[in-house]
Symmetry: C2
Subunit: 192 residues, 2 copies
């Protein structure tokens, strides 16, 4: 997606070989018009997948996932990183390890917000090692849903996540693919 790549080129910061900072437009300050266009693009890419529900992992996935669900006219389900005190009945959980934070969390959802056979489009802002996306997919399937597509805003394709998800059989599309990072240098995978 050209507009997104241009934003990454202009405002993204490669801190080192691992970390791409995009908090100027994606996950701290949020460029709402860009989110709108990202929603359109995901809706276009997965138009033929028969999607009945969009899901994401809180918190940075919410903005692109909301715009996508709005365009597709389906409900959004926000998977929680912890069970709140008032969320205690019919809850499903799976353990996910975060490499960024170097600790595990319990990804949580209520069974009632997934219907058997729901065709789910999972949206997330970043794909790196794939732990969050694999955990979310596990949880969706545990609840009786079918992961019919995975839409990623930025894939760090030099890390194993994209390969792991595709090897697991998922239909993954990333709007921008990073081939490699070095301090102050961002290399993209050519589009198409």
């Amino acid at each position: 997606m050209r507009e997104l790549e241009d934003k990454i080129r202009t405002f993204g910061k490669a801190l080192n070989e691992d970390v791409l900072l995009v908090d100027m437009f994606l996950n701290h300050q949020v460029d709402c018009e860009l989110m709108d266009h990202i929603g359109d693009e995901f809706a276009r890419l997965f138009a033929d997948a028969g999607i009945t529900r969009v899901a994401t992992v809180e918190a940075s996935g919410i903005a692109p996932a909301l715009m996508c669900a709005l365009k597709m006219r389906v409900p959004l389900l926000v998977l929680k990183k912890s069970a709140s005190a008032i969320m205690n009945e019919n809850v499903l959980q799976t353990e996910v390890f975060s490499f960024t934070k170097q600790k595990s969390y319990l990804l949580t959802m209520k069974q009632e917000y997934m219907l058997p056979g729901d065709r789910v489009l999972l949206i997330d802002d970043f794909l790196a090692n794939g732990e969050a996306a694999l955990g979310a997919s596990r949880l969706i399937e545990q609840a009786g849903g079918i992961v019919s597509g995975i839409g990623i805003v930025i894939s760090k394709s030099f890390q194993p996540g994209l390969k792991r998800l595709r090897e697991a059989g998922y239909n993954v599309k990333a709007l921008a693919e990073i081939a490699g990072l070095q301090k102050d240098h961002i290399e993209f995978v050519p589009e198409g």
Copy 2:
């Protein structure tokens, strides 16, 4: 806002005198069309406030705040509940106590995403004791912004938050105001 009150009447669950569960359409499963209309309503209510930026606290405030910022054509700033490992420079923080979770967190933002004199509309999903909204306002002001409006989706007006914010001089508008809760009974403050 009639459509929101109808949703609360139909799908909200009063668990006891304190807790109103709206995870069917607001903060777990998300009704995207409702969020779209909530965005319109906030944009209308604060149309004359000269807003240059919308801010919210992650995670449940993001959906209504994004729709509002999109309609107002201003950037959204998502205040974080913890500083991430890669977010270490020019960071502002304030301590906020969560009554729901019975513990404090450090509300965090980067200075660079607030311009001096920015007129900020703070959006949040719930107002109860007002700790989160007061903390967010403190942080915005510390960064040089002006809190020019506070928009709340659901105010539990029998708790002290609304009164505290108004006594502090803020222009607060709530789309639905709850007068009281009892198990399986929700009492609204009449509109207007």
